[in-house]
Point group: C2
Chain length 354, copies 2
């Protein structure tokens, strides 16, 4: 049971070479004779050598620089929470020589993203954390990162084909199913259920479409005779969106509504109250201030928490671990679909990062 720490020195002794040679073998720096190579590899294999990551980082003392690309947090509470996660990670890793540079772009302006992406490349970071909102604009960016051998971590939205270091977020298809289930709970009979995409550019709708698919799939499986309505309300003017929601509420006898965008739920809550229809079940996303208010008031029945703060936090952590300690992160880090109600809300607000 006494597994003493094996050092490079020990390996060297066992293999009958010097530490320098062992070092060269471990780091594949070449300049080693076949004979020595074999000896070292052999003992390296026999003894299960694990380098002391602590000592490793001590010596180098290189300052790593991570760039984080997210939508402007001052314009959107959801992204503000992501930003908090990034800042939290920075504190957590302050020990080490890390410089975290955050780049903001406008969520509704693909050109702003392009510009910012360029700036990131110019800054020559050692790693990148990004929420790839603009699919088409992001692809060439990843190409360039790949060329420069800069690892990148995706969060919030996944694009598996660009082979990021890792992805952090939720399974949005499953998320749509959970949303549907929460609307359908204890709803006897068929009824009509609506899924609303509000105020999100349709360009980055992969996101929303996944939820929609899951939503439909749930009813197909569990209540085939339920009616499913899909509405996409993309107008920039709030008034026209409100009007559309109003019409929906007047003309249709709804059993429940799922709002796929985190900001949309409060708008729908307003309308439900205005039309005296707050018995309609409403499910939204994320612990935004407004959403919390309506959840407490009983207008919103459930929120699905995407935990943006933790997503960003873990994104940075995975990068830091990879760069600093050479720890490979898992292929993807899928978060559970957290269901928030009036009663367990507090436990979520009070608990730290989970």
């Amino acid at each position: 049971m006494d597994k003493k720490k094996i050092r490079i020195k020990d390996i060297a002794q066992l293999a009958g070479v010097s530490v320098g040679t062992v070092d060269r073998v471990i780091h594949k720096r070449g300049r080693v004779s076949d004979e020595a190579l074999e000896k070292v590899l052999k003992t390296l294999h026999e003894i299960d050598y694990k380098p002391n990551l602590i000592a490793r980082t001590l010596g180098s003392s290189k300052t790593y620089r991570i760039a984080a690309l997210i939508p402007d947090p001052s314009l959107d509470e959801y992204w503000h929470q992501s930003f908090q996660g990034i800042n939290h990670a920075q504190e957590e890793w302050a020990q080490y020589d890390f410089r975290l540079e955050t780049f903001f772009f406008n969520l509704y302006d693909r050109n702003s993203f392009k510009k910012v992406a360029e700036a990131v490349l110019e800054s020559e970071p050692d790693g990148v954390l990004i929420s790839p909102v603009f699919y088409h604009e992001v692809l060439p960016f990843f190409e360039l990162l790949k060329d420069r051998n800069i690892p990148y971590v995706l969060f919030n939205t996944n694009i598996p084909e660009v082979q990021p270091l890792t992805f952090i977020g939720q399974d949005l298809f499953e998320s749509g199913k959970v949303g549907a289930e929460l609307l359908h709970l204890q709803q006897k009979g068929a009824g009509t259920f609506a899924i609303l995409h509000i105020n999100e550019n349709s360009l980055n709708s992969v996101h929303l479409l996944e939820k929609e698919k899951g939503f439909k799939e749930y009813f197909r499986e569990n209540a085939p005779d339920a009616r499913v309505l899909v509405l996409e309300l993309n107008s920039q003017e709030e008034a026209s969106v409100e009007k559309a929601i109003g019409m929906l509420l007047q003309n249709t006898e709804l059993a429940g509504i799922l709002v796929t965008t985190s900001k949309g739920a409060s708008l729908v809550s307003d309308m439900l109250q205005a039309h005296g229809k707050d018995s309609i079940r409403l499910v939204g996303y994320d612990l935004l201030e407004e959403n919390i208010k309506y959840l407490k008031a009983g207008i919103i029945d459930f929120l699905i928490n995407q935990n943006p703060k933790r997503q960003a936090f873990l994104g940075i952590s995975h990068l830091a671990n990879y760069l600093l300690l050479r720890k490979e992160p898992p292929q993807q880090d899928l978060f559970p679909l957290e269901i928030i109600t009036k009663q367990n809300l507090r436990s979520y607000l009070e608990s730290g990062i989970h």
Copy 2:
């Protein structure tokens, strides 16, 4: 923006003393003149010095030993999951010189706990992780640990008055409220709701009583005319417990049942099926295999996840951080009350430690 790393050496230079003196001041080893002390403290205050924890651990290379005291995992799936968390933590911290020694006791035998506690003391660990099931037996144990200056971390059940290094777990009062809410969702009218304590020694019932209080509180606040039944079924023989449940089901028109012990829910599920009463809403605790089965089958409607694996994992991590890196953990680490349904179940099973 360029905050170069400040080392002890720098402090020494600024204060006009040697590193040795600075070291003595930092570690309060005494043997420093008032004059020098003041100088060092002053610069130490001006410059915000943060020791490099990495370098600190490198030098010492002391082997820390942590003792974990938990109920025998081979007898109980819930504790098995805790055990997994402990093992996971061990892997995570394998880097460092850690030895994790796990001590098991019988959940139903206070004497076995006493014996094990003694063994722990004899092993002279540097830190202790424990789930304090037996309140009275555990108090003198903590006294002894305090005498010996051994830090201890509690998880699962809290005993704030013994002032542990930290506590990790859930707010059980809130948990009872959430359980009640889940039973009451969309239940029009008053109805009768039962809370069942099954097969848990009443000795460690602080646990269960807290949930019960929250349960009652919910109905007091939200449905004062609902009827609340409390049943405690402590018999060792399963048959007699089943009989009691059967009688309950036959004689009472129930709207919902909350089972406070993780193992109890599957028993109740059985009985609900046997009596053809599976429309009664059932809420239980934790992702035990049996519970998962009944949740998928729709007999159990919701599970509240206590996340024993993560509890234990974080317990060890907090201890390790404290011992190795001298990081003070938060006073308590409260977990959110996770609601599991048929639809989001998979996301919880697939996600790693969250």
